[in-house]
């Protein structure tokens, strides 16, 4: 009875099938909630010509930034990429293509992709460079831009807890893009802090139902903080 046992025990198995030229959607916001071990595995595999869809592209030497080191990313779809010197260098030299997408539109593109909605109209970006070349329409006196959904060959996400059915619960704001990314992959791999027994996750408290998740692996996370701010009390 292995039907619903989605737990894999090696990163090789977790990312098996990833090939050159594929599209990978990655959850995370900055360095918060990123699937660190799955990114490291892509680096190890050396897969190239990847299109990576994620809000940001990590920093130099950590997160998705490590995939720039061996030029594995051909195209990056993101809303903000300012944290990364290597990114800047490859962008200016023309080695790296970038599609800047407003953050909410990016989240909705993933959500729509997972939900079988091929495109949607949004007011975001109307009259700006983002709308160039896209269909626009006036609806009830307001102008909207048609934005197409995104799906990936792989989606890689980080969750707090999972069970072997692939049900996921996220922790605090590390949720961010992870639930939408999880719905939008043909193969969705969740790297999690803890794997619990079926039934331990309260059904009504599950953020991502297991139907969206193909593989689960227990990871160890550094959880690097990008901007450490503390107050003195």
């Amino acid at each position: 009875m292995a039907g619903f046992n989605k737990v894999v025990h090696s990163y090789e198995d977790a990312m098996a099938g990833l090939q050159d030229g594929m599209t990978v959607i990655a959850g995370g916001f900055g360095l918060c909630g990123i699937p660190e071990g799955l990114i490291a595995q892509i680096k190890k595999m050396g897969t190239t010509d990847l299109t990576v869809v994620s809000n940001n592209c990590g920093v130099d030497g950590f997160g998705l930034g490590v995939l720039l080191e061996d030029r594995q990313i051909k195209k990056m779809v993101a809303s903000y990429v300012g944290e990364n010197a290597l990114f800047e260098k490859q962008l200016l030299s023309g080695e790296l293509e970038v599609e800047l997408t407003p953050q909410g539109t990016l989240a909705e593109k993933m959500r729509a992709g997972g939900a079988g909605i091929p495109a949607f109209f949004t007011a975001t970006g109307y009259g700006t460079p983002v709308a160039e070349g896209k269909e626009t329409r006036e609806i009830n006196g307001r102008n909207y831009v048609l934005e197409e959904a995104i799906t990936g060959d792989f989606a890689i996400v980080r969750a707090w807890k999972a069970d072997r059915y692939g049900n996921l619960v996220f922790r605090h704001t590390s949720m961010n893009f992870n639930p939408m990314a999880a719905t939008a992959g043909k193969i969705t791999v969740a790297e999690v802090e803890e794997i619990v027994e079926p039934g331990e996750l309260e059904p009504s408290q599950i953020h991502t139902p297991g139907i969206y998740v193909q593989r689960v692996i227990k990871g160890n996370f550094e959880k690097r903080i990008e901007r450490r701010m503390v107050r003195k009390d």
Binding site: F29, N55, P102, T128, M175, M229
Partner: protein, 219 residues
């Protein structure tokens, strides 16, 4: 004298109303949280997926999984909610956030805003700014009235690529408070000691000055 960053934030804070859901951008807008008027309660929305953002954590509270839209470690207040980025932008785009405060490079008399891209310089991205300006019911822009060379940032038409069209309602600069409507900037208040003439001289777009313009009042 021109207002300090803190004074601009203090003046913006006077726009807050009890029960408001508010999104504060990076920079001066972030400081607004320090000047919420006594006796009113507002909820701060952080677009990565947090409603009810609290202050920075103590050492003991520090948690890598708890950050704001500026990627800084934060806390959540009692009564906060945490959700996905899609949910977060649903509430922004859907007009559920009462007030957005953000910075800009340029604003024009038709309420257009340019805040994310300077051609020829490295473009880092718009983040959530385009969604915020398209979605909020009420947008206040904080900026210096003119750049360091004295060139006005309040224009007839924005020269830089836009973040949003026809969305800015109010501007708080280091010199003045202005409302944007009917294709013009309407001068509402002056910074203490700043003359109407100086504001006129530093406003390139159409400026309407109606009657005596009061000075801003700080408590």
């Amino acid at each position: 004298m021109a207002l300090s960053r803190e004074q601009v934030a203090m003046r913006v804070a006077q726009e807050l109303k009890d029960g408001y859901y508010v999104n504060l951008g990076i920079g001066i807008p972030t400081l607004v949280a320090n000047y919420v008027p006594a006796g009113i309660e507002v909820m701060l929305q952080s677009e990565n997926g947090l409603l009810g953002m609290g202050p920075y954590p103590t050492e003991a509270e520090l948690d890598a999984d708890m950050i704001n839209a500026g990627k800084e470690t934060v806390t959540a207040i009692k009564g906060a909610a945490i959700f996905s980025s899609a949910e977060s932008f649903a509430m922004i785009r859907g007009g559920h956030v009462d007030l957005t405060v953000l910075g800009a490079f340029e604003v024009d008399q038709n309420g257009n805003i340019a805040s994310w891209m300077i051609p020829g310089k490295l473009v880092k991205g718009m983040g959530g700014a385009m969604d915020l300006v398209a979605g909020a019911l009420n947008i206040v822009v904080t900026m210096t009235h003119a750049d360091k060379y004295g060139n006005s940032k309040l224009l007839n038409d924005c020269t830089l690529p836009l973040t949003g069209v026809g969305c800015v309602k109010k501007i708080v600069t280091d010199l003045a408070v202005l409302e944007v409507r009917d294709g013009a900037f309407h001068l509402l208040e002056r910074a203490p000691g700043i003359s109407v003439e100086e504001i006129q001289q530093k406003t390139a777009g159409k400026l309407i000055v109606n009657g005596d313009i009061p000075e801003m009042v700080f408590n």
